[in-house]
Amino acid sequence: MRRLFLCTAFLATATQVAAQVKPAPATPPATPPATPPATAPAATPAATPAPAAPAQAAKAVEPSKSEFRVGGFIGSGERSYDRANNVNTATGQIRGVEILLRGSGAGLYFRSLSGTFGKKGSTTNALQPTIISADARILLFAPTFTVFGGVGKRCVCGPPDKIYDVGMAGVSSTVNIGGSGLRTYISGAFLVAPDNSKPATSGSSSKVKLSNGLEGEAAVFYRHPSIPLFLTVGYRTEIFTGKTATTTLPEEVRGLRVGAGIQFGGH
């Protein structure tokens, strides 16, 4: 909880900064003269027609509040878990797809990923269970400060398989760096999953355990203003402590995340 609090505070600070980074309206030039500079002698009876004064200065085009993004990503990272006081770490890859659809004040986000870590038969990089997860989130408020909540499933595919029904809540912030096409993105979410495993013995009334975790991500997205394709590079960490009535299995998955896809709006 302490980490979640810190993460949330971090994002709140980012949101405040984002507001400052918003492009300032262009400063209008001095009021144009009613007539152009004299290019003809005063004696000339017909003076040069005065060009019409342009409209008053307007604001810069704001980033589109609507956005549609479909992309895939691949992560190179590592997974560690602690079983019976024995910490096991393996490197591997996470692949996934994500879809974002948002309007001015709300949106939807879907993500599916799967990660494999370690190699079969390796002693230094032993094969670990495959991690598969999928979630759907509802996004609220503007991209610079978004609160989201969602549900998903997370499978630590054994054997034996352990599937968690995960609920999540968090905040994220997307900041456009002027008109460069680059955006920074940070997000943090708290994960919680009730233990839905069957009791070992029928009729036992053990207390329901809640698995919990944190997920954080920091990334930059680049999209050329005239090409609806984006590239992203970032770092993602997910820590999760799976709990059952009898076991506690802490794990962490972290690593580099690169991706690309199609994006409309958002800039």
Binding site: A46, A57, G179
Partner: protein
């Protein structure tokens, strides 16, 4: 005679009243009719001495001189002198006819001989000619008794700037037509011009006749609209917002710092104590931070569509103002009028 001479000493007065010269001509004509040929010749020659005499008055005086040199009294006839005078007369007016009170059959025959043996021409022009636009022209009609080359030179009386040089080749009669504008500018400026028309007879003899007369031009300068050559840049609005620049530093620190922080985030338990931070996190965080800062400082700002559109409109208005000025100037050129008033009597 002295009184007449004194009276004629003031040319302005003489031109205004003209009576004294006409009186002299009448006096010489009366003397001719009184058969006093010597006096007639003398008085007529005194007219030729007067600079104020018009070409018509000079021609009349020369007629009296020719008639006095070839009267019907054989004893008083000086045929060669009369013929020479008549040749001078017909050179610039080959259709000349002697007035009834001066001539007789013998003098008419001598005039015919003069016309036959002299290269003579006659120049005429419509007194007031108005030429419009760049293609507007004026013309001088030339008629000769023989084929020749005719060349006209029109020069300003003040300054002698030559305005027009034109010619006709191998013709006996024709119009010398000249434009009054050149390179979209009027050739003439308002003022007096002298026209010298020289005829050169074709063939071996090559007699030359020069006729001079005057032209008054009414040609005010064209007042062109001034078209601006460069758009006033102060009229243009900014087309982009300010660059992100230093404002990108804090987001850069946040995204980079978050990546670094996430790399050392661990769950509670042994992982918090035994697992080490991912070294890639620091590298990735640094890349995110640097790329954000670079993007911020290379940012040119966001486009401002309304201002871009306004500038486009201003540019179009500017271009239109130029086009309008050019069109107006073209109209002024095409409608420009030069009025030429020919005075065939004045040199």
């Amino acid at each position: 005679m002295l009184l007449v001479a004194v009276t004629l000493a003031a040319p302005g007065v003489v031109r205004a009243q003209a009576t004294p010269i006409d009186d002299l001509i009448r006096l010489s004509t009366d003397a001719f009719n009184d058969l006093n040929y010597k006096k007639a010749d003398s008085v007529a020659r005194s007219v030729l001495q007067l600079s104020a005499a018009t070409p018509a008055q000079r021609a009349r005086a020369q007629m009296v001189i020719a008639a006095s040199a070839y009267p019907d009294d054989p004893a008083a006839q000086k045929r060669e002198a009369a013929l020479a005078t008549l040749k001078q007369l017909v050179k610039a007016n080959f259709s000349l006819k002697l007035p009834q009170e001066l001539t007789w059959a013998g003098l008419d025959s001598l005039l015919d001989e003069a016309k036959r043996t002299t290269f003579a021409l006659q120049v005429s022009a419509e007194k007031r000619q108005t030429a419009v636009g760049v293609d507007g022209t004026a013309k001088i009609h030339v008629k000769s008794n023989r084929t020749g080359l005719f060349r006209v030179v029109i020069a300003a009386k003040s300054g002698n700037d030559v305005a027009v040089v034109d010619s006709l080749v191998s013709v006996r009669e024709g119009d010398i037509t000249f434009k009054v504008m050149r390179d979209d500018a009027p050739i003439f400026t308002s003022g007096d011009y002298s026209i010298t028309l020289t005829g050169v007879e074709s063939g071996g003899r090559g007699d030359t006749v020069t006729v001079q007369f005057s032209l008054k031009a009414d040609a005010p300068p064209i007042e062109f609209m001034k078209a601006a050559t460069k758009m006033d840049s102060t009229m243009l609005l900014k087309t982009r917002s300010g660059r992100s620049g230093a404002r990108s530093i804090i987001p850069a620190l946040l995204v980079g710092g978050t990546a670094i922080g996430l790399s050392s985030l661990h769950p509670e338990g042994n992982l918090a104590t035994k697992a080490v931070a991912d070294s890639k996190g620091t590298a990735v965080g640094s890349v995110l931070m640097l790329s954000t800062i670079i993007a911020g400082f290379t940012d040119h700002g966001r486009p401002i569509p309304a201002n871009i559109a306004a500038n486009k409109v201003a540019g179009e208005v500017f271009q239109k103002s130029i086009a309008d000025a050019l069109a107006e100037n073209r109209r002024r050129i095409t409608e420009y009028k030069t009025v030429l008033t020919f005075d065939m009597e004045a040199k």
